[in-house]
Amino acid sequence: MTVTPLGIPRRLVEFTLDGEPVRVPEGSTILDACRAVGKDVPTLCHGDTLTPKNACRVCMVEVEGSRTLVPACSRRAEAGMEVRTRTERALHSRKVVLELLASSVDMSTTPRAAEWIEEYGADPGRFGPDAARLQEQPRIDNELYVRDYGKCILCYKCVDACGEQWQNTFAISVAGRGFDARIAVEQDAPLPDSACVYCGNCVEVCPTGALSFKTEFDMRAAGTWDASRQTETTTVCAYCGVGCNVTLHVQDNEIVKVTSPHDNPVTHGNLCIKGRFGYQHVQNRD
């Protein structure tokens, strides 16, 4: 017996990926197909719980017959497509995108950024010292999380997570237009004056560390943050009966960060303020 109704059965679509035939369920993206066969395509703005935004352009691949490169994260696979992920044009595009991003924002806390910059031979310094750069100071206006827009690549994931895709609080938005567009809280308000409910679901999806938990921010500033010494244990939140799965990141027997598995049927990676931040009582040890 099936657990949930399956709906209309999905057909498999066959296409060619780097010369090899692959079959994926109808509706899958090129990125899904790449990951299914273990091909590494870099992504930043892609979120596994969010609708693709096509903002960062770092996942571009070449499709036979297409005038332009296409973003792997949003382009659906079609029967008979011929996709090449590592053509010179695609690699060059990724290199330039990484150079543009890394020259304008601080990518020091972006997971894998340094690895990709090396892999694609990107040189973020080549635009010289006058390259436009966001010189923003971290905004610390509450005890729970910090906004460091100097690390923001404008991927819009926090806007979508705070908005209609998950939280529906709409505290985070885009202020300004064109070159002046930047992520802001309402009309550039401090968090405590905004509609923010401190669920931290924006921090959960942020790909660069522009949004980070205060604990992590403080430990990084003090030089004590060491992800390699942290354990991650998934358990169930102790507040209310919904039963959200929480992953506790523990360093030296202290909970330093709380996330939630994105494929969890209860949370889909989302938590509320209590689950995300309400752990301190356990470690009030003296």
């Binding site: 529906n168 102790a238 919904v242 523990v250 049927p265 931040f277 040890r285 003296d286």
Partner: protein
């Protein structure tokens, strides 16, 4: 507003004992403390009660109820589920024979009408509400029934702001409207229910205009909800403590279930009844038998076959009658027939309605042992305090959520000092009282439970891991059941359909604590987004949203009493009196006030609430007290003597 001095609790790290309640606690070894517990319980055999914990794991609850039943020979075991959702369990069990919510979170995303009744899920169950928002995004219409225009109601198609305690009147009027409009699901009523004719007669007097008078909800709004619910292809009816925390909470639940029976909105994907539970394992505590009338697996103590299975497994005789529930245990303390209590992780000194009375009763005990992670107000009254591990972060085991999903909890941090796991402590006390409870680990406890509870039999730890939790019932280790309960009601073969669900014949009964000239304001209680219950856990983090306890008034009432935000006022009920600062909330209607019980060390709201209990489930009427508001005499500033001078 005054500077808040929140009480923060630090972890207990070693056992505490004392010879008399007048003495301060002193540190003791585990051996001494456990010996004292054994002696204290031994001399009170036959007068013992176990308060198990709705936040502890299933495994702890299983061992705690086994301790009560096998070591102490009593069914007096219960938990604070009595103060919240016991009526949901009692009501659902009376109708369907099983006390769980009938549907799953994912189904709310694929339904057509969602009724949120007495539930501010946006604050109290935010992640459940995300599923509701998905449902709304997919085209479902949501209706909010609540005396307050809550942040949940902001998302509703229509808000039905009923008077506190008139839920049955409203439900009956909806039922009558459905019947009169010819929207009854006649085939379902005929095949899967009993008592329809009685129900029809019961609701017949509840015309829309009478309901409007009693509930304060416009007739047109009642009619709209009735038609929307009855015409929907699929509909979910969700409720929280606004339904259950009344003196007639079980009747309230039955009145809602009647609507699902009338329309066939139960037992199908997307159609169901969903009580939202307040604590991480309040569902599991009951499932594990930590309630006075059920054995593990929700098996009735009066069922001789079930009893015999447990008797042979446990090597003991089980009395063929129910034990005392939490409310009755407190009453038994008063008359001296309950003299010893083993309290695991509960804080009844602050969570019970009429908390002064609860504290007085706890003081009368001959012996009180409290096993907790903090020195709570209840622990301060104890003879022995045992430091335990935090169920969710320091213990291996499982908990069961509101959609009956059993999920693994895991040890992520090492407990402080000498704190020990609940199960190990219970087993050590059992050994001192001559019973050999030995378990290699939590999984061994779980496997014993699986061998005794058919509903949990198929849930091995490995499968729980593989499926990210499994919903009960799960009798087989190689397949999963549907996500909703009671599909049997739709079978065409009467034998497979099983016992039809009876309509609940329940009468409207207004709140016990009436408002009058002296107590003109109706006080109701609830939760805020960033805080939790008595605040022992949630007080530990710095929430930017938290502003402490306050008496929330409507703008009209604030103006009437001439009070402003932040001003301290005296709040008095027929039982007690507290002072609290004022907050003005336009979501309240005139005559309605709101408080939480998150900050009992600042404002002890439960001094005001009434201990008027549901006779079936024992839950107190936290949601309806009558109060009055008095302006405090202003601390008069001495005015400068300007009157004597001229310009």
């Amino acid at each position: 507003m005054r500077k808040r001095q929140p009480k923060t609790y630090t972890r207990l790290t070693h056992p505490l004992v004392r010879d008399a309640r007048t003495e301060p606690f002193r540190r003791a070894t585990w051996d001494e403390a456990l010996d004292r517990v054994a002696r204290g319980l031994e001399r009170n055999r036959g007068a013992f009660g176990m308060f198990s914990c709705s936040r502890a794991t299933n495994e702890t609850n299983y061992v705690a109820q086994k301790f009560a039943r096998v070591v102490m020979g009593t069914h007096n075991v219960d938990s604070c589920n009595r103060t919240c959702h016991a009526p949901s369990v009692a009501g659902l069990a009376a109708a369907f024979g099983s006390g769980g919510g009938t549907s799953s979170y994912a189904e709310v995303e694929h339904t057509d009408v969602i009724v949120m009744w007495g539930s501010n899920a946006r604050f109290a169950h935010p992640i459940f509400f995300q599923h509701v928002l998905k449902g709304i995004g997919n085209g479902a219409r949501m209706y909010a029934v609540d005396p307050r225009r809550t942040s949940t109601a902001e998302w509703a198609e229509s808000w039905l702001g009923l008077n506190v305690g008139t839920d049955i009147a409203l439900a009956h009027a909806i039922g009558r409207e459905i019947i009169h409009a010819g929207l009854t699901n006649e085939a379902f009523v005929r095949r899967a229910t009993t008592g329809f004719e009685e129900y029809r007669a019961l609701v017949e007097p509840w015309t829309l205009s009478l309901a409007e008078k009693v509930t304060g909800v416009p007739a047109a709004a009642i009619r709209e909800l009735a038609h929307a619910y009855a015409r929907a292809e699929r509909a979910q009816l969700c409720w929280t403590l606004g339904i259950t925390e009344h003196h007639n909470g079980t009747d309230n639940v039955r009145a809602l279930i009647n609507l699902a029976l009338l329309t066939g909105h139960v037992g199908r994907f997307g159609s169901g009844l969903q009580p939202l539970r307040g604590q991480n394992n309040v569902q599991g505590g009951g499932d594990m038998g930590a309630i006075p009338n059920r054995l593990p697996g929700f098996q009735d103590i009066l069922d001789a076959d079930a009893r015999h299975r447990f008797e042979s497994a446990w090597g003991t005789a089980l009395a063929p009658h129910y034990g005392l529930n939490l409310t009755e245990m407190f009453e038994a303390m008063e008359d001296g027939t309950l003299r010893a209590v083993y309290c695991i992780g509960e804080n009844p000194a602050q969570s019970e309605a009429d908390s002064e009375q609860a504290v007085r009763r706890l003081r009368q005990l001959d012996f009180l042992v409290v096993q907790d992670i903090f020195l709570t107000r209840t622990a301060e009254l104890a003879d022995v305090v045992l430091p335990a591990t935090a169920g969710w972060a320091e213990t291996e085991g499982t908990t069961t959520n509101s959609e009956r999903r059993v999920q693994r909890v895991r040890r992520a941090v090492t407990p402080p000092g000498e704190a020990r796991e609940d199960i190990d402590i219970l087993c050590d006390v059992a050994a001192r009282l001559g019973h050999d409870f030995t378990y290699a680990d939590a999984e061994a406890v779980w496997n014993e439970l699986r061998s005794l509870s058919p509903d949990h039999h198929g849930m091995t730890y490995a499968r729980l891991e593989e499926h990210q939790g499994i919903q009960w019932p799960c009798p087989s280790t190689d397949r999963l059941e549907p996500t909703y309960l009671h599909g049997r009601l739709w079978e065409s073969d009467p034998a497979r359909r099983g016992r039809p669900a009876p309509f609940g014949i329940v009468q409207h009964d207004p709140p016990v604590d009436l408002t009058d000239e002296r107590y003109p304001i109706r006080l109701t209680t609830g939760r805020r987004l960033d805080s939790y219950n008595t605040g022992v856990q949630s007080g530990g983090f710095a929430s930017p949203l938290r502003r402490g306890e306050a008496i929330e008034l409507s703008p009209e009432d604030a103006e009437h009493y001439g009070v402003v935000v932040g001003e301290q006022v005296r709040v008095t009920s027929r039982r007690g009196s507290v002072t609290a600062p004022v907050w003005v909330d336009p979501a309240l209607r005139p005559g309605l006030a709101f408080m939480t019980f998150h900050f009992p060390d600042e404002v002890d709201t439960n001094q005001l609430t009434i201990e008027a209990n549901c006779p079936i489930a024992g839950t107190a009427e936290f949601k309806a007290s009558a109060i009055r508001i008095e302006k405090l005499p202003v601390a008069t500033e001495v005015p400068p003597l300007t009157g004597l001078t001229t310009d």
